[in-house]
Amino acid sequence: MIRYALTRLALLVLGLFVASALIFTTLRILPGDIAQLIAGVNSTPEQLAGIRERLGLDRPIPVQYGDWIGGVLRGDLGSSQLTGTPVVSELLQKAEVTVPLGILAFVVALLVALPFGVLAAVRRHRPDGVAVSVGAQALAAVPVVWAGMMLVVVFAVTLGWLPAQGFPRAGWSDPAAAFRALVLPAVTIGVVEGAVLLRFVRSATLQAMGQDFVRTAAAKGLTRTQALLRHGLPSVGLSVITVLGVQVAGIMVGAVVIEQLFSLPGIGRMLVEDTGNRDLVKVQGELLVLTGLVLIIGFVVDLVHRVLDPRQREAE
């Protein structure tokens, strides 16, 4: 186990290195003269020299990369080219919207996927099971932004239950209003991602139902559903854990689009704005944090899976 954990950790570190090198190459080296890009066409040579010095562009590229990573390790992602605000403090502030949104969306996705996925597998020859499968297939094809618009039409415009856009200026000091602002966005992402996850749960359940130990339990007098619930579900859970990393990436991408739709002041919307403004230092930091998060969650998921799955431990 320890050997596996160390190998996997090495892979994580390598992954973070490759990710950071790719982001650095794309945003710092490929644009050519980044100082010119920042200063614009009407800049004087003095302005350009100033920008080069401030960003350390006059030094060799490996040194620049080393500086950036050194800063990242000290918790410094640089400052916005436009406003001068430190990237880290802005990320932390926006995370107050995006992190709760992501967690809520994740909970919704699980609430959709687990019960309905098992149902779709167990009752796959009945009308309700077929209906769930067909519905999930269709929902998984819906663009998340359109799903959001439809929910806005129903729950905000027509019924008026929830706000169509925005986040309270007071933030979480007005918890009820903040929560209400996140319900529709979270349900949007959660339902679409949940439909994708549901299909994994369904096939994992079908596989579990074919396992010898579930069939044996059924033969010893449990009903097939009892046998599945008592003996099959652990293996379903394990299969689902392996795709959680992928789900997190999906929710993250969903948040980028959905924060835009609902005008939520989160990390996704900030990334969209900074990309539009070509605030390269900020984009660089934001992309590193987001991809790093995907890689780290993938690492944790793999370790948890290894610990929980006895079959994998025996394989060593």
Binding site: L22, P31, A140, V142, V145, V196, F200, V294
Partner: protein, 293 residues
């Protein structure tokens, strides 16, 4: 021919047939729209703005009186362009990476495999935004980023298949009979990984359609002068509280197209993989969710 057999099996399954029909209809619509749409999709007609669906405008008009059906038909060109373009790039990247990961000496092979495993963690949308931050958004950026994202996915699924076939008897026999490695590649390896590959490609095109819509919606895809379903969604969203019905159409068009590619992929998978006849898919053969845009 084995290929005809898959085609027949895909057509025989109801969902497969649905997928084929949807994909053909979208492609045909894109072609037809080059020559004919009910009205000029960009013609502004203020007198008829927000017309309800009816005989003159089957799906109604938008806020500047443009015919929504015509806009959707013209937008399908953008969708098909992105799907095909991304498919071509993904094929090239996927095959090269899979070949490097399967056919080269061991250290190279394992290096490539690790890199592919890492790259797969990059969501397509983030790749697209990274490129857009430098060069600005465009359809080319969308095509390239989906191509990269999906190429990596294809490589990951195709490589083990390539390794498996590499050890099979007919490839060994080919080698013994004096085929050069590249002859062996073209004659035996590629035809045999084709099924796995085509399945991935179909799912990849579904992702391309979603990515185009999402990125155009965010303003990093199609230029405002070009008809695109994602742009149309962004346009219509501004009036959603007054004219909610109009938002229905572009969303339905996207959903139907994505569903078509997904179902086609599923049917191709079932038709080409004999071990899946019980209807339960093993892990890893579900459509990749990481790249949902």
């Amino acid at each position: 021919m084995r290929r005809l057999q898959w085609a027949r099996r895909v057509w025989a399954s109801g969902t497969g047939r649905f997928g084929v029909i949807v994909v053909v209809v979208i492609a045909a619509t894109a072609l037809v729209s080059l020559f004919w749409t009910p009205l000029d999709p960009q013609r502004v007609d203020i007198a008829n703005r927000w017309a309800a669906p009816g005989a003159a405008h089957l799906l109604g008009t938008d806020g500047s009186g443009r015919d929504i059906l015509s806009l959707l038909m013209a937008g399908s060109r953008t969708t098909v362009l992105v799907a095909v373009g991304a498919g071509v790039i993904a094929t090239a990247i996927g095959l090269v990476l899979a070949a490097l990961g399967a056919l080269t000496p061991r250290p190279v092979r394992e290096g490539v495999t690790v890199i592919v495993d890492i790259l797969i963690a990059f969501p397509v949308l983030l790749i697209a935004m990274m490129i857009s931050a430098v060069w600005g958004g465009s359809l080319l950026v969308v095509i390239v980023s989906v191509g990269i994202g999906f190429g990596v996915n294809i490589a990951r699924v195709t490589r083990p298949e390539l390794r498996r076939i590499l050890r099979s008897d007919f490839v060994l026999a080919g080698r013994a009979a004096g085929l050069s490695p590249s002859q062996n590649l073209w004659r035996h390896l590629l035809p045999n990984v084709a099924p796995v590959f085509i399945v991935q490609l179909s799912w990849g095109m579904a992702v391309a359609v979603l990515a185009e819509a999402g990125l155009s919606y965010l303003g990093f895809g199609a230029p405002v002068t070009q008809p695109s379903w994602g742009l149309l969604l962004a346009d219509l969203q501004r009036f959603i509280s007054v004219h909610p019905l109009s938002v229905l159409w572009p969303g339905l068009a996207i959903t139907l197209t994505v569903l078509g590619f997904n179902l086609l992929g599923d049917a191709l998978r079932d038709a080409t993989d004999p071990t899946l006849s019980r209807g339960s898919a093993p892990r890893g053969t579900e459509p990749p969710a990481a790249v949902t845009a």
